[in-house]
Subunit: 226 residues, 2 copies
């Protein structure tokens, strides 16, 4: 059983590519039934074509308001047999029409350790703020920007004075790992939402418990004696 999903993009679609790559090596149990871009001519559309995936450009500029845009997106996704939706660099707020059509089945990836730095240009925000740990977050989508219940987070070191691009690349490399993982948990129906808490139910491989947590991450690194 594979989960039929739709992927919404606005740009290069590197997170779409990460999903495709994991599908093609057989570890991600989804089929991408549709890729929708709200921006014409982006590289993500080319990626879909390269892998024989149906795609469509639906420019929000052709619709009078968010509700009517969301309705056409929902119709295309439903016609393609989609059962869950993942936002992979989709630069638009999704509205209640889309969320109601796929309740509890819309995921987003954001390039920051939410709730820090929601919204646009998160990597630039983090670099300018001077954080020493940056990262990315996959979460369920709700009607607020970058706000829904968190599924998985990853932290990376951030160097003082580093270019936002360099930090962004390091974050992006992790996005490409945690996003397919979160989608796979969705495909295996292992995500249980309790208010704002997301429990990942144990699968074939056991998850960490309180007595078996991964180590911490400290940056700059501690020196001898600390």
């Amino acid at each position: 059983m594979t989960l039929p999903i739709g992927v919404l993009i606005s740009g290069s679609g590197s997170n779409l590519q990460a999903l495709i790559d994991r599908m093609e090596v057989g570890v991600l149990d989804v089929t991408i039934q549709a890729v929708i871009s709200n921006v014409p001519g982006v590289k993500g559309l080319e990626r879909a074509a390269n892998h024989g995936i149906f795609s469509q450009t639906l420019s929000h500029r052709n619709y009078p308001d968010r509700a009517s845009y969301d309705r056409i997106v929902v119709r295309v996704l439903r016609d393609a047999g989609v059962q869950a939706v993942v936002l992979a660099g989709f630069m638009r707020l999704v509205g209640p029409e889309l969320l109601a059509a796929f309740p509890g089945r819309v995921l987003n990836i954001h390039p920051a350790l939410l709730p820090s730095f929601p919204g646009l240009h998160a990597q630039e925000q983090a670099a300018a703020y001077g954080v020493r740990l940056a990262g990315c977050t996959v979460h369920f989508v709700d009607e607020e920007v970058d706000h829904g219940p968190i599924i998985i987070q990853a932290a990376v070191p951030a160097l003082p004075g580093e270019e936002a691009d360099a930090l962004g690349d390091r974050i992006l490399a992790l996005e490409h790992r945690i996003f397919p993982q979160a989608v796979q948990w969705l495909a295996e129906d292992r995500l249980e939402v309790q208010g704002r808490q997301v429990v990942v139910r144990p699968g074939e491989r056991l998850l960490a418990t309180r007595n078996d947590l991964p180590p911490c991450l400290v940056f700059p690194p501690l020196e001898e004696g600390f």
Copy 2:
């Protein structure tokens, strides 16, 4: 050469204890010249006494406003020969009088990955939000709450539905490691502030560079194939 510091507390002073412990094993090159608590009878005062450290209770309730309170704090710190000030669970905003008296030499530790969850009860805020990575931050103090340039951050996994106390304990264990480290960098005069960026200048032990970064931290952990 050791740096004479003052420590401001409001409660149990476990971060004060972490400083004392590192001093006593000889890895932290400071002397604590004064401990000031704005709350009478707290355990931190007892810890100071146990180690022969001068301490004084200065209740903010006895002063008409922040400026007059800060002035008496500055006077006590100066009389004790203090050259830098660390806030170790000091639950009051410090004002311009204190910052001007020790320019660029006031540090604070906050139990969250700033800029997430500033202010009171950060661990509870993080647990309620449902983050999967929590942590702590040592930063220079400015006139905004939990806002100044960041020196060091540490991230720990946070379990869904976990009690804030359990998460708080895990964060506190890391506070006890990164706080003395940051104070030691200050004592070695290795912290260079450029706007919001804090560069830790190399010491005897080399710090990580872009080609030598510590690994990332992902939670929940990635499963095989991701």
